[in-house]
Amino acid sequence: MRKLNTITENEIKRRLEILKEVPERNPHAASSGRARFLAQIEEISKQAVSLQGKQRHSGWVEKIRSNFIQRKERLPMLAQLLSVILILSALLGGGGAATVYASQSSLPGNWLYPVKIWSEDMRSDLADSPDTQIELQLQFAERRVEELAELVGKGQPLPEIVALRLESQVNHALQLAAGLQAAQMSEELSQIRQRLMTQLQVMEQLHSSDPQAEALLTRTRQMLQTRLRLVEEGIQSPNSLHQQLKSQDQSQQNQDQLQQQDRDRLQQQDQERLQQQDQQRDQLRQQTCTPQPQNTPAGSPQNGCCGSDAGNHGNGQGAGGNQGGKGK
């Protein structure tokens, strides 16, 4: 039994080896990440110590928000502004402001994009009133939609992180609105509804031939529709929004209990995808291999990459029925 375990362990170690080799890290992305961290040291060192308690007792939106946006108690505006200018100048050299400006039109994948995100976080932190913060979150959410539109237009892959940020920013705006007095809340919700409708209209125009990109676009549209419904219910009845947020919060808390069910479901889906990927690989082999003379025996050494695949052609064809199926 022990011997069997050793064999299994060695076999798994061997199979995992393939993940050990990691492509070289993009130096621009690495230095942007480091700059962001150094800026966060300055920012967070000024925060009041009560922050963690606030986060611990807050709900799902706060959890999402804390993943992306740092919160802190407000310092005087001038001091914050000076610190931002100093940090930008120190980190990005004499052309810091120009770099930040240039980054504003960058797209995901560009080395300036992290600077764009970072500058958004900084602007959000500088905002000293909820309505300004809501406005900023909506502006940033619109930027995410524009980025998706531009990427779709260029036929480039759509990074999941853009959709996650969009969701986070919409959630943040909603949470901020929910914390306002009834009259102001209603006003802000109307504003949010208008902006979400515009975002949704743009998203409805976006389509991609890449199934993965299309799936992300569909999920994003669904997310916006859900939030729009939430806002409309909130306008009708402010208490309803509180309750919805509360119930979603409760649902988030129950997520751990449902984790096992999710895992089973994901396991089944992933196994199906594994199978699909096997089939894709067979197809790729067929596409990449030079056609061999008909008299070349299958599996012969000179057959190169196709050698062991001569019998796989049936697989590639047989897999066709599954290729069009969407995983999720």
Partner: protein, 188 residues
């Protein structure tokens, strides 16, 4: 944990910029590699590293943070980040892109094979429970000892051994099943 790391962590708790920068420089590359191995996506891996260190700073500011072993603590944050992402994001498919065919100067067919195999192993890892996955990755990809892994996942060493045993068996079964099906297609 060595005395040097004790001192580093002590300084970090005081928000000493030099100490925090040293921690970042010491561990960010390893954390990036860890995230890349599980996610296979450079942008998400960078985001994981950024959020890991942000959470670390916030924890320190709130008087929390690692009790002892810093490296294990950072891996734990990164692992939680990746697990959260897994819950929210469907499993990515392998795109048959032209990049796959032209990446590097090696045999493109071989490069494509490698990517497929990497995705297959990642997918199998994703089928494990979060703890099983973490134990396997830390033990066999990050080369942490049983003791270090126990610290990283906040469980006793006996639990790590047990999780490792179950994870090995499950992963072996998943990969074998997948290969068996593949061979079945090949023979069909």
């Amino acid at each position: 944990m060595g005395t040097q790391e004790d001192e580093l962590l002590h300084a970090a708790r005081q928000f000493d910029r030099q100490a925090l920068t040293e921690i970042y420089d010491r561990y960010s590359t390893a954390l990036y590699a860890y995230a890349m191995r599980l996610l296979g996506n450079p942008e998400l891996a960078e985001e994981c590293v950024a959020d890991t260190f942000q959470r670390f700073l916030l924890a320190l500011r709130a008087g929390g943070g690692p009790d002892g072993y810093l490296k294990a603590y950072l891996y734990r944050i990164a692992h939680n980040w990746i697990t959260d992402l897994y819950r929210r994001q469907p499993f990515p498919t392998v795109e048959l892109s032209e990049n796959m065919m032209t990446d590097g100067n090696a045999n493109p067919e071989s490069a494509a094979e490698t990517r497929f195999e990497q995705q297959r192993v990642r997918a199998a890892l994703r089928c494990l429970t979060a703890e099983q996955r973490q134990v396997l990755v830390l033990r066999f990809l990050e080369n942490l000892s049983i003791e270090e892994t126990a610290l990283a996942i906040n469980k006793p060493e006996s639990a790590v051994k047990s999780l490792q045993h179950r994870a090995l068996a499950t992963l072996h079964r998943l990969l074998t099943d997948s290969e068996r099906k593949n061979k079945g297609y090949a023979q069909a």
